[in-house]
């Protein structure tokens, strides 16, 4: 028990520390492909530190929901991240794949509520769009992940390690990559770099946040992105067992960064999609996942 608590805690610290770096690398890669110099890869750390030092300005119309939301978001993503066994088995399982999916839902629920609270139209717009996109993404996510569960035979995240390493996994990977793009709020679904009202979804929800609270929320978004990438690595490109912890962490960081570069590439070559074209994109993702499910039920 003590071991698993320490392991989960260590994993959370690791995720908190690595997430800004991965985000920085993605930003740098995007800048380079667009022939810009871009900020350094460590810039997200400086941004977070700057935010954490500043007292927030909150709207007079808000209540404890606004105060609590940054903590809930950060906490839920960290808890979700700690469920993925990064270094061997965890001892006591505190949750499985389904719990991980629904911890994301916990964070999203509070963020969508907090966006409504200041009473500005922008927050409402972001909140409404976010929940709509979620309703498209969630079934695809479940289809893709449960296709792998069919191959592995369990929702236990330890058993699922490398569940995508079969021919059907390629299909599931494409489907889940589309989901990851949507969940991390990237082009073509959302644009993380702009507050322009016509395109924004996630940024619109944070619009009334400032200072320390905004720092927490930005950090939470980076951790969410990292957790999704770690999950993909865990399912499709599992870590070798029996290597020292430091080596395993380095390897994981390298793999996650590689996947992040793929995300940066996707973002650089595609244009933002109209909001109501999204059902088509998600239907595409769903077809890949459905084919993966079919392949897995035929194979076994």
């Amino acid at each position: 028990m003590t071991g698993s608590v320490l392991s989960a805690g260590g994993q959370m610290v690791f995720l908190m520390l690595l997430a800004p770096l991965v985000n920085g690398v993605i930003k740098k890669a995007k800048a380079l492909t667009q022939c810009r110099r871009g900020p350094g890869v460590l810039q997200p750390y400086f941004d977070i530190l700057k935010f954490l030092r500043r007292d927030p300005v909150v709207s007079v119309h808000t209540s404890w929901v606004t105060q609590l939301t940054p903590l809930v978001c950060l906490g839920a993503y960290l808890a979700a991240g700690s469920l993925i066994p990064l270094w061997g088995s965890q001892g006591v399982a505190l949750g499985d794949l389904i719990a991980l999916i629904y911890l994301f839902a916990l964070a999203r629920f509070f963020l969508a509520l907090a966006a409504l609270e200041p009473g500005s139209a922008f927050g409402g717009m972001g909140s409404s769009r976010e929940m709509m996109i979620t309703s498209l993404v969630e079934p695809v996510l479940v289809l893709g992940l449960f296709g792998l569960v069919l191959a592995a035979g369990s929702t236990d995240l330890g058993v699922l390690a490398g569940a995508g390493r079969n021919p059907a996994g390629v299909l599931a990977f494409i489907g889940l990559m589309i989901v990851t793009v949507a969940e991390t709020g990237r082009i073509p679904v959302d644009n993380p770099d702009t507050h322009l009202e016509l395109t924004m979804v996630h940024e619109a929800m944070l619009l009334e946040y400032a200072g320390r609270q905004l720092g927490f929320l930005h950090w939470a978004a980076m951790i969410k992105q990292l957790v999704l990438l770690v999950l993909l690595v865990h399912l499709f490109w599992p870590q070798p067992t029996g290597i020292p912890v430091a080596a395993a962490l380095g390897l994981l960081a390298a793999k996650v960064t590689a996947l992040g570069l793929v995300l940066a590439m996707i973002e650089s070559v595609l244009a933002k999609m109209r909001l109501f074209r999204l059902p088509e994109l998600m239907a595409g993702g769903a077809s890949f996942c459905l084919l993966a499910v079919l392949a897995n039920s035929l194979l076994k």
Partner: protein, 661 residues
């Protein structure tokens, strides 16, 4: 022996308390608040006593039986409380007791004269629900079922002076009676002229042909499905729930719908002993359709109670998904995953009862405080009704299946059961069906979360949109006190699901004998602990880095002073989803703009958008036209001439004489 004696006493105690709660308030003349207080207190006491009886029934290995004598020649009225009945009895009594407590405050908005009539109907309604799950005779069952329908009809039409309420009551009674026809047919087909008691039915069910059994199943599914609100038989729900007082809606939606689930399980699984896999498949499909359509329609509603009523349709769908999976496993002779699936469905029964009654009571508190159910008129209530806000939010999080609350705990079990359906690898069809049902459940969960962000966000957060909302205050203590135990249960059942799941596995084991089932260890307590620990350490970190120190300022309104008209409304919140599902919802909008000089400078916009009820237009309206036209043809035999009627009687007599000869 000791226990049976005690159970007998408890049973009579409950019965007497309910009857006293029904009758005594009527005898008080001009008592002011006295009839209400009597009705509520006796109802709550009866509920608590029934809860004890139900819990005893759930845990006792031997069913409790008690004969109360013959009500008709050959029809014995007897009580049979096995684990299944005990579970439903406990759920019913828990909710009715707390709703009675709540009513003590809530009924204050109605004229005092009418409260005695309310108390009479309410306690009779609670008693009839208890009896429905306890009697073990089909005639007695149908009598109690009818009593339940009538009592609830009078509760729905409590505010009968409004025409809308009378219409809703009419739709309710017509639909439920149509359902009762199917239930009666199912029972009579199953009995085949043998005995009336459930034991006789179960004994005779073995000799029925496969077609007859399937016919019984279909009749039961339609009949009980009407009461439960399965799509497309759900149309009475969204009109009856808003018409009824909120405490009544809480009981009707929280537990009365569940008596239909009980009836379906008793008849199809217990008496018929299950059937081929397509029965389960049909139940599963009905569940998926109800869940998805229920939540899509719910998202379009701005009347808080209509919204909640559509969520009942959704949750009944989720329950049926669990039961359907269980029935498929039984058909495949796999009692262990079958029992887990049935237990998952039953677990959602109690969870839905708890969070849905909490939400309906919350909606009642909002109505009490503001006089409106339209969420477009609300806003900012979290500042004016802080305790109600926390209670409502607890219900909203639970129904959206978010950990660590109870909705997540049961939906998790249903996910596992559906996955087990796929993992059984019986055929590619069922593997695909299981995963697709999981995807449908995920869609339902995401839309439910969207709906409750809308419901809570628009009514409780931001600025008040009307004078009524701005003047709201916290309702009386009794109302909050009735809701607190429900909110606590939402959390407790979510963190420690084993407490209920283990006895429920026993219930399933009683329905379908198999090896002793031990549920796998659940992670819910650990997950809750993890979340609590992470949140606590983050709170400490945030406190260390400056805590709640913050400057307060006005929301940025693009240079204008923000007011309530700038907020997102419920209609605009659900617009993206309405647009995506427009082929199903068929929204029709009407926009009238008035402008000066130039179309960009509007000074008034009238906007209206309606969605079409596809089921009404394509199913019920043609059906009604058909019925009316057929009845018109037959009217000619009713000419009002007494000689003709005497002739009919004579002809009937002659025919009967020939028939019995």
């Amino acid at each position: 022996m000791e226990l049976v004696d005690l159970q007998e006493k408890m049973f009579f105690f409950t019965l007497v308390l309910y009857l006293a709660g029904a009758v005594l308030p009527l005898t008080v003349r001009r008592g002011g608040r006295l009839p209400l207080t009597m009705g509520c207190c006796l109802g709550a006491a009866a509920g608590l006593s029934g809860l004890t009886l139900g819990v005893a029934g759930l845990f006792s290995p031997e069913p409790f039986t008690l004969s109360l004598g013959y009500i008709l020649p050959g029809v014995e009225l007897s009580v049979y409380l096995d684990r299944l009945a005990g579970f439903f009895l406990a759920t019913i009594c828990l909710v009715t007791a707390l709703a009675s407590f709540y009513s003590l405050g809530y009924m204050g908005i109605y004229p005092k004269r009418s409260t005695a009539w309310w108390a009479f109907c309410y306690n009779l309604f609670s008693l009839s629900m208890c009896l429905v799950v306890m009697v073990d005779n089909m005639v007695a069952f149908l009598i109690c079922w009818e009593l339940m329908t009538l009592a609830s009809y009078f509760l729905v039409t409590f505010e009968y002076r409004h025409q809308q309420v009378r219409r809703a009551g009419f739709a309710y009674i017509v639909m439920t009676h149509l359902g009762t026809v199917f239930i009666m047919s199912a029972f009579f087909l199953a009995s085949g002229g043998g005995g009336w008691s459930f034991a006789d039915l179960a004994g005779g069910a073995g000799s029925l042909s496969g077609t007859a059994r399937s016919l019984v199943f279909l009749c039961a599914l339609i009949g009980f499905g009407t009461k439960a609100g399965v799509v497309p038989l759900h149309i009475w729900l969204p009109s009856a729930h808003p018409a009824a007082p909120s405490n009544v809606s809480a009981v009707m939606s929280g537990v009365m719908l569940k008596t239909a689930i009980y009836g379906l399980m008793r008849l199809v699984i217990d008496i018929l002993g299950g059937g081929p896999a397509w029965w389960g498949g049909l139940v599963l499909a009905a569940g998926v359709v109800s869940a998805v359509l229920g939540v899509v329609y719910a998202l379009m509603e701005h009347d808080l109670k209509r919204l909640l009523a559509f969520h009942s349709v959704e949750n009944i769908g989720i329950i049926l998904m669990g039961l359907g999976a269980g029935m498929i496993f039984y058909a495949w002779s796999m009692p262990v995953p079958g029992a887990i699936a049935i237990a998952a469905g039953l677990f959602h029964v109690i969870n839905h009862a708890v969070f849905k009654s909490l939400l309906f009571l919350g909606a009642g508190s909002i109505y009490y405080a503001t006089g409106t159910r339209d969420i477009e008129q609300l806003g900012g209530l979290i500042k004016r009704m802080p305790q109600t806000a926390v209670l409502f939010l607890t219900g909203a999080i639970s129904i959206s299946a978010i950990p660590p609350f109870n909705g997540f705990a049961s939906e998790y079990q249903i996910y596992q059961s559906l996955l087990a359906l796929s993992l059984a690898k019986v055929s590619v069809f069922w593997s695909m069906a299981g995963v697709l049902a999981c995807a449908a459940l995920a869609l339902t969960g995401a839309l439910a979360a969207a709906c409750f962000v809308k419901a809570f966000g628009v009514s409780f957060l931001a600025l008040p949109r009307s004078e009524k909302a701005a003047k709201a205050t916290e309702p009386p203590l009794a109302m909050r006190a009735g809701m607190i135990p429900l909110a606590v249960l939402c959390l407790v059942l979510g963190v420690f699901p084993q407490v209920v799941l283990n006895p429920l596995a026993g219930v399933a084991g009683q329905l379908m004998p198999g090896p002793q089932i031990s549920l796998p260890a659940l992670f819910n307590p650990g997950l809750a602990l993890l979340l609590a620990a992470v949140l606590a350490s983050l709170a400490v970190l945030s406190r260390l880095s400056g805590g709640l120190r913050a400057r307060r300022a006005e929301t940025w309104g693009c240079g204008m002073a923000p007011d309530a008209t700038m907020e997102y409304t419920a209609a605009s919140y659900s617009q993206p989803v309405r647009r995506i599902y427009r082929s199903l919802l068929q929204p029709r909008r009407e926009v009238i703009r008035e402008y000066r000089l130039w179309p960009y400078f509007n000074y008034s916009i009238y906007f209206e958008e309606r969605i079409r009820s596809v089921f009404n237009e394509f199913l019920y309206v043609p059906l009604r036209r058909f019925t009316v036209s057929v009845s018109q043809r037959w009217r000619c035999i009713q000419c009002g001439n007494i000689n003709l009627y005497l002739g009919y009687i004579f002809v009937t007599l002659v025919v009967l004489l020939f028939y019995v000869r």
